[in-house]
């Protein structure tokens, strides 16, 4: 009788511990619209697959150049804040620019997914829904900017691309300080097709 009782208690304790372990091993999930701080190891997940339509290789022409950009959704570890790493589903982008003769001007398509020069940040919804990505180019004196992309048709086959340069002040230590024009690999405004 005593042994049976003991076995029952043991069983309950085991179940409780297992449940605890399962609960604690699962990171807390937050929707993609979360822009506030999240706990360490939390996961801001694209629960509604909102990012999927942006995936693929997009192409457009500008200034006698051809621009290719490949977008892909990845689960990225964001550890830029001390002691507060977390995961987020983001679109990352790799691009290639060819001149009118087909020569490669810029190509970073071989970068690893977690080390791209373009990384998604969030959606804006007013006045229209658009996804914003951050551009940061260590090869051009840490040139930077915000990229805004939005679909222009219901079939999600054309994409409006706008680029806002946020590089700001350039000082003489930049190797392109005297370049005219300053290297600008990304188009400012373009329509891309899949």
């Amino acid at each position: 009788m005593f042994l049976k009782l003991n076995k029952n208690i043991m069983k309950k304790i085991f179940i409780l511990i297992t449940l605890h372990l399962i609960l604690f091993s699962c990171a807390q999930i937050y929707p993609l619209s979360t822009n506030t701080d999240v706990p360490t190891n939390a996961y801001i997940q694209d629960l509604n697959n909102e990012l999927i339509p942006y995936e693929g290789t997009w192409k457009g022409s500008w200034d006698n150049k051809t621009f290719f950009v490949t977008f892909k959704r990845i689960k990225k570890l964001l550890d830029h804040r001390e002691n507060n790493p977390y995961y987020k589903d983001v679109i990352v982008g790799k691009f290639k620019v060819l001149d009118s003769s087909g020569n490669i001007l810029y190509d970073n398509t071989n970068l690893a997914d977690n080390n791209t020069k373009i990384e998604g940040a969030r959606f804006f919804t007013i006045p229209n829904k658009r996804y914003v990505l951050l551009y940061l180019d260590p090869d051009i004196c840490n040139s930077s900017g915000d990229i805004f992309i939005s679909f222009t048709d219901s079939s999600n086959n054309t994409l409006d691309w706008k680029f806002m340069d946020t590089t700001d002040m350039i000082n003489p230590s930049c190797q392109y300080y005297s370049s005219n024009p300053f290297p600008q690999p990304l188009p400012k405004a373009i329509t891309l097709t899949k």
Partner: protein, 450 residues
């Protein structure tokens, strides 16, 4: 066996003798230190510090010189007593600003003379603080068995007295075996001289009514060779807006709605006058736009110690952040501060951003300019900055300026982590500035400059 024991005993004796001799050395030193000192009765004798602590001897020496120049010693003796310069204390101040000098009558301190330098003027005040006088008596006549000092800086309001130091000094007074004696501890904290409030009673060294009392509301005495003043950032900003007409006109040229509506930034860099010329004014150069971009560049040359530039309202479909960018901060540190340090005074350096949502100034109060801010650092700064500023944007891409200030201060605190980089906001109408700080709850606290 016997031989071995002998060696052991000899070694033991040697250790004991060494320990005893060491202990007697310590005692001799303490005894010599704590014996009542011979108190100087000649206030015109050359001063030689007998304080337990390090004092600003240059200042005490100069104060004594000024005092002897103006004092009628007979008057001082009769009215106050004998000044004991050897026990003058500056309580952690080493910028020739503050000292307390005990005044002796009948072998005890009865009053203190407070010597305060402001600019090139020396003011003398009476300090009749019972506890403080008792502290000086303990220092001069007590059997001191221990002494200590804790220094701390001010971190309160921003005023001209920005760099004052608080010193807490402790004396443990023991007994020499006299019956009924109880050891005691005396602690006093002095934070230099605080301006404002009711002026203290002037100390009158001359006794001449025509010359005034020497302190209080009077003009003070000429102080020889005052050290160069390090102006606090508030003073630096204020003087630019009040005395530098060129600076003001350049700010006015940028601070316009039409400039904020441009598709590119606009700015000026401030440079030291060229060497070996008669030019003495700050030289302002336009900051050119990088060809084909909306960015500005700092002109080439190591004379540029400051800059001012605009951040636009809109740019290519986006809304720029209306405060310094990581590149602005990097330029301020690696060019302006470095150039100021090399060719002028490090505290000349400044950066300014002029926007429709507010004008901001970066100042640096540190002493050195080697920051090690290279491309990798800027990359990580930009990654942090980009992500964090995206998070505070509203759904239309706009910002609340309160959030912008807060995230930028967090950027300085959490990511940049360079002591001495300070952010000021300048009122567009009044030109008055406030230092923006983050409190422990990450709330922005403006501290108005005086």
């Amino acid at each position: 066996m016997l031989m071995k024991r002998k060696i052991h005993l000899t070694r033991l004796l040697l250790v004991i003798v060494t320990l005893l001799s060491m202990s007697s050395c310590v005692r001799d030193e303490l005894a010599a230190e704590s014996q009542p000192q011979v108190i100087s009765t000649n206030m015109s004798a050359k001063f030689a510090s007998r304080s337990f602590w390090k004092e600003d001897n240059i200042y005490i020496n100069k104060v004594q010189q000024v005092f002897l120049k103006v004092a009628n010693l007979e008057h001082v003796r009769t009215r106050y007593g004998e000044l004991n310069w050897d026990y003058a204390m500056t309580f952690g101040n080493f910028n020739e600003t503050y000292a307390l000098v005990p005044i002796i009558k009948d072998n005890k301190a009865v009053l203190l003379m407070e010597a305060v330098r402001i600019g090139n003027k020396l003011f003398l005040y009476e300090k009749n603080d019972e506890e403080m006088i008792a502290f000086f008596n303990a220092a001069m006549y007590g059997k001191i068995i221990h002494y200590d000092e804790t220094l701390s800086g001010n971190n309160g309001t921003l005023s001209k007295a920005l760099n004052y130091v608080c010193s807490t000094r402790t004396l443990s007074v023991g007994c020499d075996g006299e019956p009924g004696c109880v050891p005691y501890v005396k602690t006093e904290t002095v934070c230099g001289f605080q301006q404002g409030g009711t002026p203290p009673k002037g100390f009158d060294p001359s006794g001449d009514p025509d010359l005034g009392s020497g302190g209080g509301g009077d003009d003070g005495y000429e102080y020889p060779d005052p050290p160069d003043e390090i102006k606090d950032p508030c003073e630096k900003i204020k003087s630019k807006f009040t005395t530098d007409l060129k600076f003001k006109s350049k700010v006015a040229a940028i601070d316009k709605q039409e400039v904020f509506a441009y598709d590119h930034e606009m700015g000026f860099a401030a440079g030291y006058p060229p060497a070996n010329t008669t030019v003495t004014e700050t030289q302002y150069q336009p900051m050119e736009n990088m060809a084909g971009s909306h960015n500005v560049s700092l002109p080439d040359g190591d004379q540029y110690f400051g800059y001012m530039h605009s951040h636009n309202n809109f740019s290519d479909g986006g809304i720029p952040v209306k405060i310094f960018s990581p590149a602005d901060l990097a330029t301020f540190l690696t060019s302006c501060v470095a150039n100021a340090d090399a060719h002028g005074s490090i505290d000349d350096a400044y950066g300014m951003v002029i926007t429709s949502a507010g004008n901001y100034v970066l100042q640096y109060t540190g002493a050195t300019s080697g920051f090690g801010v290279g491309p990798n650092t800027i990359k990580y700064w930009k990654a942090w900055y980009g992500r964090q500023f995206k998070a505070i944007q509203n759904d239309d891409g706009g910002y609340d300026q309160d959030d912008v200030e807060k995230v930028f201060l967090r950027f300085l605190k959490e990511k940049v982590q360079i002591d001495g980089v300070e952010l000021y906001k300048v009122d567009k109408t009044t030109g008055k500035s406030s230092k923006l700080n983050l409190n422990s709850n990450n709330v922005v606290v403006p501290i108005p400059c005086s």
